[in-house]
Symmetry: C2
Subunit: 261 residues, 2 copies
């Protein structure tokens, strides 16, 4: 069963195109990460942008120019082949969805491995805090807010957030737990009234699907990596490659290592 495979074994399977699908449920206990690949020309400005906006863009690992190996977070990996599905953006516009990027890889590419919310959802569940998007088997709803990221040259634009409803009695715990892991977006950026951060209605998320909010629950908003799509459409980098949604990079880092990583 694929579910029991190690990250390394699973990456090899994906490399051979034997796993075209979503990565949710795979390599339990290990960090799933987003990947952003940029030419060196834009990589420094993007890395500064990440440093200035660590909540949406928590940097776990960066590859050296031209090397496709994420050798800190996944020794022996190959970012050209080890994600099940990629999206290619030219000047901020998605132009292709592919299963590897061997053909378009260039010697000036730099890859960023970025934390995502999979790990903190696992931590919430372990603490007995229900995660509604998992309960309802929906894609987590994502909203573009009126909060601006701190710009770095061409990289600028609004913050996108994911929303999970949390019962008032567990909000303290949910904050405490997620605050411990800055590399998976950290604590919520906002709790409660969505209008305060420029969200008109929770009914119509910009990405993903709306979730049921029960009595006694408040919407909790976490910084979200989808911010990159909004930013890229404005920054228009010459070329940018990311994971397709839900098709993450499977690292060798255990979730419980990440807090101290």
């Amino acid at each position: 069963m694929e579910e029991a495979l190690s990250p390394k074994a699973m990456r090899e399977k994906i490399r051979k195109n034997e796993w075209p699908g979503l990565t949710a449920g795979l390599t339990k206990g290990y960090v799933h990460a987003g990947v952003t690949i940029l030419p060196r020309k834009e990589a420094l400005d993007f890395m500064i942008f990440c440093q200035r906006n660590p909540q949406p863009f928590p940097v776990i690992d960066v590859t050296e120019e031209g090397s496709p190996e994420a050798r800190i977070s996944a020794p022996g990996s190959d970012l050209r082949t080890d994600l099940p599905q990629y999206r290619v953006y030219e000047k901020g516009i998605m132009t292709a969805e592919v299963t590897d990027v061997k053909e378009i890889w260039r010697s000036d590419f730099v890859g960023f491995v970025l934390g995502c919310s999979f790990s903190f959802e696992e931590a919430l569940l372990q603490a007995g805090i229900p995660v509604r998007n998992l309960e309802e088997k929906k894609n987590v709803p994502i909203y573009v807010t009126n909060k601006q990221c701190v710009p770095s040259r061409m990289f600028q634009g609004p913050l996108a957030v994911s929303m999970r409803p949390i019962h008032g009695s567990r909000i303290t715990d949910a904050i405490r737990i997620t605050a411990k892991s800055p590399l998976t977006h950290g604590a919520p950026v906002h709790v409660g009234d969505p209008s305060v951060i420029g969200i008109k209605t929770l009914e119509h998320p910009d990405y993903g699907e709306a979730l049921t909010i029960n009595n006694g629950e408040l919407p909790c908003f976490w910084a979200c990596g989808v911010t990159l799509q909004v930013i890229a459409s404005q920054a228009k980098p010459e070329l940018m490659i990311t994971q397709a949604p839900g098709h993450m990079f499977l690292t060798d880092i255990r979730n419980d290592q990440l807090a101290a990583y």
Copy 2:
């Protein structure tokens, strides 16, 4: 009195060459930082090196290419003039010590503002933990260890550590306090027997001065920014500018903000 001036006012004084000296004791409660300036060509590799070695190289702020303003940590600042004394390295060798770098500033320079141990010494004192180098009015002793930094292309070499003796009854507190601030080097990398990390004798530090170690105290070793000098002598970047020792950059960030920064 200079001691009472705000970081902004003090930076302006330094900019006008009205304060040529050490920065210790100035802008109490605010973060003092190291500065490293590199050409863009080497800046990305260095930033990746910092990301891989956050204990010796905690990045507080990075300037955009050509801009001398550290606009996140010190809006309105000018890294060309706002440090009392600079050191210029050509191919890893120190070739000049100057009070400003206006003449040699280039449009491809990128500046890194890096956390230093001043802030955590203040936190230790506040908790009633004596700081021996301050008690004995000596420069903290620094030792080159046998621990290697995680390399990033040409940036590689051994970790340097600063040593402060701490009484056995306060080691837990000292670790707890410094662990809270990863941006000022975080918790010790080693406690006790120096030989384990390749230090033959505490009597003869590689930089700074030896300190008295009393009965019941153990040497505690923190990652140290001086690592950069060792690294630079091996990496030989074309040009590198840093603060002269003890002549730090005075930021607008309060020490108690840094943990959450």
